[in-house]
Assembly symmetry: C2
Amino acid sequence: MTAFGRSAEARLSTAEIIAVGTELLTPFRSDTNSLFLTARLNELGIVVRRKSIVGDDATDLGPAVREALDRVDLLVVCGGLGPTDDDLTRETVADVLSRPLTEDPSIVEHLRARFAARGWTMPENNRRQAAVPEGALVLDNPRGTAPGLWLEVGDRVVVLLPGPPRELEPMFAALARERLSTRAAPERLYRQVLRVAGRGESHVEEMVQPVYERWRRAEPPVRTTVLASPGSVELHLSTRAVSQDAALDALDAATDELVAVLGNHVVSTDGRSLPEVVGELLHKDGFRVAIGESCTGGLVTAQLVDIPGSSRYVETGVVAYSNEIKRTVLGVDPELLNRHGAVSEAVAVAMAEGARRVGATDIGIGVTGVAGPDGGSDEKPVGTVCVGVVGPGRAQEARTSMFPGDRAMVRRLATQTALDLLRRVLLRHMRERATVRGD
Amino acid sequence: MTAFGRSAEARLSTAEIIAVGTELLTPFRSDTNSLFLTARLNELGIVVRRKSIVGDDATDLGPAVREALDRVDLLVVCGGLGPTDDDLTRETVADVLSRPLTEDPSIVEHLRARFAARGWTMPENNRRQAAVPEGALVLDNPRGTAPGLWLEVGDRVVVLLPGPPRELEPMFAALARERLSTRAAPERLYRQVLRVAGRGESHVEEMVQPVYERWRRAEPPVRTTVLASPGSVELHLSTRAVSQDAALDALDAATDELVAVLGNHVVSTDGRSLPEVVGELLHKDGFRVAIGESCTGGLVTAQLVDIPGSSRYVETGVVAYSNEIKRTVLGVDPELLNRHGAVSEAVAVAMAEGARRVGATDIGIGVTGVAGPDGGSDEKPVGTVCVGVVGPGRAQEARTSMFPGDRAMVRRLATQTALDLLRRVLLRHMRERATVRGD
């Protein structure tokens, strides 16, 4: 079917990925390797045309490999290189390409040594992993027993990689750096990610559309994709160019224009997450923070603490679900609770003040709301959330939002909003200080 | 290539799923519909043989559809049914099957009414969604504009579904109930999930292997898959049978034997998660809980609060990262901190006692540890975590663990361990009370 013999060393520009494993055809597991592989391939300017998942079955895998080689320059097959009878990738690919398998004694030696280092004897089964198809190059696997394989098929390339991500990722990263980069087209893909908070997807789209329409027609053209997830919008900018300078200049200029349009809705232009950005702002100013949470039940604190080094700026967090705890631990005035209700800006601010007092910190955050499914009223329906930030100094901010979705979604959106309000307070503080100082 | 003409109404037993969308071939998005579809198809005894992802390109989609029809009885194509020029699924499939497209006036009417209900005029583009291939059955989409399509091709079936999960899922659930169940083989797949905590994957495998080996050879045979994720192991039991009674009897009997072997390591036999199970145990006894957390930074509280109705049994959570807060808020004796260090069972228990006092609850939980990447010592390396539970009454339990992995992994494992220790304390309390009462 295929003419397997064009001139060698042709450029690789299209790829296909096949993940092998019957467990990947159940409702419980999905292939994630292909996302990593796609990112690395795209960086080299190689486009992924198709991804497939087949079970541990030679009658399914064989035709899948044959068909893929008819379509693309580079085929990456992941998984099925283990030592058990289920692992059929090596044998099936060798068969499709009519390449006899020979045992490589140096691999057997390496495997034996690997087992011996742990005081074990190599099971005979593992010898299968030393079988190498004729003409294949062996790719070292420092993290496991399955070596990878690189096969040239005329001007096409087939790469076999082990399935576990911790083995596949370093192996493929090395391959991309060394062999693939010389075989890919001279154009490379460059990307930049802007994270945006405080504005919904369609609003962001409307704001940035005139900018990205213009950049789409620039040279080199910059493509923009708007990706939304609950509480956050990302702008993915990409450009393809031979010259790295030209690409990065275009991305920088487009980013500057987008930042000018979006203002302080931009959380970061280098992919940093909201908790990372907030953490860096806190740390830069030497501020410490304390959190009082009701409906978010610890999520705001957990997100901040998730960042390594956060003990430098997170002092404490108190989950105060009941009015009792709001009073006893956070010192919220019962009068305030009666007058405004537990879900109110006044109580959110009082919780923030209480947290700040408990932690003796510069800044306090308070979150109170109705996450559902019960507890809503006509006046304060499920999804109503109030956030308050007090400090640094006498600064004080509060915000009420109405979030859609279920309990998990409301809590997630409330957490994002609290962190974003803190970010804005910290930015304003920096600006004001700069003005006073005349920086 | 294909003989499209076997006798009609043949049983459907194998399926293939094609997801259409160029965004699914980037590093940022993965197809999740296929997991939902596989679960529903498996319930009907239909096995998924391959999954593919192709871009919005007729030259890629056309051959993918043609090849799939050579291999399986049922082809499900998701996505590409929208109104834009990128959406090519309808046209491409009609072309492959040589079925001319005709506009269905009732769909146009329905779309117009849908737009009118929101005060909008239907864009002309949306007319494309009313194009129906000859002989196709139209599947209603109550949640969007793209109708689904069901096409019989000889004894095979092609189903086209919209890409958004909230549109696809109810549509396919109805289809599975109504049309597919009569076309599937009379055998059905039945599943049961056991969640296990407190034992690693290989340990669980060793314990249950004799049981599942025996059940694999029973009639009907029960298959067991061991799936591990950090801190939790799941046993997925499945059996295929014509008779529901026979299937459920076999699953129940196998489950009973597994529970006998695993004892109180079994968290649930009906898929309930650890926080759900703990929540139900707390609620049943009318106990309220308070949590003092250091390295987990609010995750234990957040997981408990994640369950609807948790305000009935979660009173408060305090994140006490610094020794200062451990002293001032949780009342941990500075002498204890000096003598044992912040990461010690004594301090974990004192934090649990402090949380219980702050919340005036029946039960307190304390977690302290070194999540990393910094802060480890020779004596207490990164990954050392101490968990304490005090109450109900005078009960007191503590446990020290050494967890592998990075910061996020250590915190996740510590959270699981704290919840599991609480679960065991509650179970023991129930047993002891039953013994006293002579239940």
